[in-house]
């Protein structure tokens, strides 16, 4: 097996690529496809699938070099679920044909992905999900309801977890698929949230046909496949590197500095406490990134999303109290369809309300605390009555 490429070798490939593909004159899509084919999409992916088998730590430098050259972007915020969740799952559990078919248009943004996991009756307890997939000829018939699906209205494909065997314990009877969002029987309805926006959707599946070649992993192995997806979700929700005051604390600190007439001793104390907490979280994130780069992944990742949610809620709550009368005014209750959360661009009331979702979406803070307590600290698990009985017999 050859040595993985080092930073200089990877940068040399970027330079060669840019010399051969002038960002100013190459068609955007042609450029992105060529970048994928040159292994410069995600350098830690294997050759042939957009990567070079290089260390993940080199990716940031590659992205910077492309940005500096004015290269077209694949607009990662728009295709975050594909990049962050579907791709790692397809890479790890997909067949060669599936990887060949899906990864390139996923990365270039030609095909948008969404995630069909949560259900009305299966939130924290995802493994209780009830969407049924029944074997039929060379494929499966799928019926059920999914919820909290962002981007479903834009998506070409979905990653989908289903119940294929109700007669075995819940973790054993699940199967993971790629679902064609344009197939007959797929209905997407906007789901309005407390901010008034509809970032998310409900997705109703009625006798949707999925060919067996769109199954990801073995029949009955859906839970294990889903773990890959969920681990990647929490990593991406935790966020990237930030400068000091780079998060919501920066918004609050700016208001504090610019509006001396609002200051009180009591709020000052709270502000400083939150500043300390935000800076501690930022440095913890930085340290975690350094650990990962050094190949020493630590359990601190489980804490990042938990802390992010709490901080956002406390900071946005304080901001409203600081603003007083202005904090009682909202910008717009209209039902917007944006699927990107714009904390900085909306009113302080929006920040306060939207941040309430941070401790629910992508694993509630309660579930994250269980994970820390049981998997990190090794405390005994909650007594479980649901692991050994058939899914169909579970109390609900």
């Amino acid at each position: 097996m050859p040595e993985p490429l080092d930073a200089a070798a990877v940068q040399a490939r970027v330079a060669d690529f840019l010399a051969a593909h002038d960002p100013a004159t190459t068609d955007r899509l042609e450029f992105l496809r060529a970048r994928f084919d040159a292994g410069l999409a995600w350098v830690h992916y294997p050759p042939g699938h957009g990567g070079l088998g290089a260390p993940l730590a080199l990716q940031a430098g590659v992205d910077r070099a492309f940005a500096a050259a004015g290269a077209p972007s694949n607009d990662p915020r728009r295709i975050g679920i594909g990049l962050g969740m579907a791709a790692p799952t397809i890479l790890r559990h997909g067949t060669a044909t599936q990887r060949e078919r899906f990864l390139r248009p996923l990365w270039t943004g030609e095909e948008v992905w969404c995630q069909l996991f949560s259900e009305p009756g299966a939130g924290s307890d995802l493994a209780a999900l009830a969407t049924r997939a029944v074997r039929e000829d060379a494929g499966w018939r799928v019926t059920g309801q999914k919820v909290w699906t962002s981007g479903a209205q834009l998506a070409r494909w979905a990653i989908l977890v289903t119940r294929t065997d109700p007669d075995v314990p819940k973790h054993a009877g699940m199967t993971y698929f790629v679902c064609d969002m344009t197939a007959p029987g797929v209905e997407v309805r906007p789901l309005r949230q407390l901010t008034g926006d509809a970032e998310f959707n409900e997705v109703f599946l009625t006798d949707v046909w999925i060919p067996d070649e769109h199954r990801l992993g073995d029949v009955g192995d859906g839970w294990r496949v889903a773990q890959t997806t969920l681990m990647n979700e929490r990593v991406s929700i935790g966020g990237g590197p930030l400068p000091r005051e780079g998060g919501l604390i920066g918004v609050l600190a700016r208001t504090w500095r610019e509006r001396p007439e609002l200051r009180t001793p009591g709020l000052h104390d709270t502000l400083l406490r939150l500043w300390v907490a935000a800076e501690a979280a930022r440095l913890t994130g930085e340290r975690l990134r350094q650990q990962l780069t050094a190949g020493q992944p630590g359990p601190e990742g489980s804490a990042a999303k938990l802390v992010f949610a709490t901080l956002n809620q406390q900071i946005s709550g304080l901001e409203l109290e600081l603003l007083g009368d202005e904090g009682l005014r909202h910008d717009d209750w209209g039902m917007r369809r944006e699927s990107i959360v714009d904390f900085a661009g909306r009113s302080p009331t929006y920040r306060y309300l939207r941040a309430k979702g941070n401790s629910i979406e992508g694993g509630t803070s309660e579930i994250l605390r269980n994970i820390i307590a049981e998997r990190v600290l090794g405390l005994p698990p909650e007594p479980r009555s649901d692991k050994d009985i058939p899914w169909k017999d579970l109390p609900r």
Partner: protein, 367 residues
């Protein structure tokens, strides 16, 4: 010792207000209303104020009121908080009424008592009982100026406007009232503009300031009662959901971590009820401890209601984050109430003066 319990009369009053609200203002109807052009429920208000006669509870019989007190009115506020009902009770039957009573009583008081008209004190909603600054000028009995973010003024017939050192009654139709997109959708604020409009002076100088302060003091005390009712709905609905929502093949409420959090909400609520009752009782009897009681109530009940509403959203999980579920109406009301009539922080600062617990010495200041 001050009576911190509810009398039989108060419990009867509570029962009739609650029955009305359950029947006429269930959560889906409140949600539909706040999305309509008329966010206040005029019909419900008429029934509440006129037919149930709650509009004049705190008004003496000589002005045609019920001759009860703000204790009884506080019970109404608890129920209105429990239902996040979109009616101008706090603004008209509490703040404006207390202001008018302190100003010496006018013909308007009788109209408020009979429920034929409603009034609102034209000060920004976040203004606490300390002296509010005036943004309206008076020239030859005519008022010009603007007041931003006023509560319960949209459905009001009369505005009580502090202006140029006096206090004036202004016909609401003479003012321009611009509705504000408000955090609390069930109590929509408005911006008021007065352009050379006639006003009737009802108090001057210290009397005017004292009347406004009395209005805001009563409003603060009864807002605490509203926060108690609101927190109670949040706790009850969450407990109910925790009993019936299954995850991991068991009711979510069987997890000890969840139980402990709800137990903490309950503990805070028992205290909130005591301090809110104390504030209403002090107000009703003119107790000299009223300023302390009111600051204490707002400093304690605001955070209790916010945390009850936040726990309600969080423990309902995904469904609590939707527009369709009423939890958000309570969250928005709770957070807005925590800012209205002064934040907990401002009331703690007021307590520091009232109970002689001054802050650290500032350089150059004498001890």
């Amino acid at each position: 010792m001050t009576d911190l319990l509810y009398s039989d009369v108060e419990e009867d009053l509570r029962a009739s207000v609650r029955a009305l609200l359950v029947d006429r203002s269930p959560a889906p109807r409140v949600l539909a209303r706040v999305e309509s052009d008329e966010t206040y429920d005029a019909k419900l208000w008429r029934t509440l104020a006129v037919e149930l006669g709650t509009g004049g509870l705190a008004i003496p019989t000589e002005y045609g009121g019920a001759g009860a007190s703000f204790r009884e009115a506080a019970v109404v506020c608890e129920e209105l908080g429990r239902a996040v009902a979109p009616v101008p009770y706090l603004g008209s039957a509490v703040v404006a009424t207390a202001t008018l009573l302190a100003a010496g009583g006018t013909a308007l008081l009788a109209e408020l008592a009979s429920g034929t008209r409603t009034a609102a004190l034209a000060v920004p909603f976040a203004t606490g009982p300390g002296a509010p600054s005036t943004t309206v000028a008076v020239t030859g009995g005519r008022l010009t100026g603007a007041v931003r973010g006023v509560a319960d003024a949209l459905p009001a017939d009369v505005l009580l406007v502090p202006a140029g050192g006096g206090l004036y009654e202004v016909e609401a139709r003479d003012a321009v009232r611009e509705p504000v997109t408000s955090l609390d959708q069930t109590r929509q604020l408005c911006d008021i503009r007065l352009a050379d409009v006639p006003g009737r002076e009802i108090a001057t100088g210290d009397g005017a300031a004292a009347a406004v302060s009395a209005g805001l003091t009563a409003g603060t005390a009864l807002l605490a009662a509203e926060q108690v009712g609101l927190a109670e709905w949040c706790l009850q609905s969450t407990v109910e959901y925790m009993r019936t929502r299954y995850q991991f093949a068991r009711p979510v409420g069987s997890f000890q971590a969840v139980k402990h959090r709800l137990a903490d909400v309950w503990v805070g609520l028992t205290q909130a009820r005591a301090v809110a009752r104390y504030a209403a009782a002090c107000l009703a009897t003119g107790d000299p401890d009223t300023p302390v009681a009111v600051a204490l109530a707002k400093a304690h009940c605001g955070p209790v209601a916010v945390s009850a509403a936040e726990e309600c959203v969080q423990l309902h999980g995904g469904i609590g984050f939707t527009w369709e579920h009423p939890a958000h109406l309570y969250l928005k009301r709770a957070k807005a109430d925590a800012i209205a009539l002064g934040t907990a922080d401002q009331h703690r600062a007021a307590l520091a003066r009232l109970v002689d617990l001054p802050g650290p010495l500032v350089e150059g200041e004498a001890a």
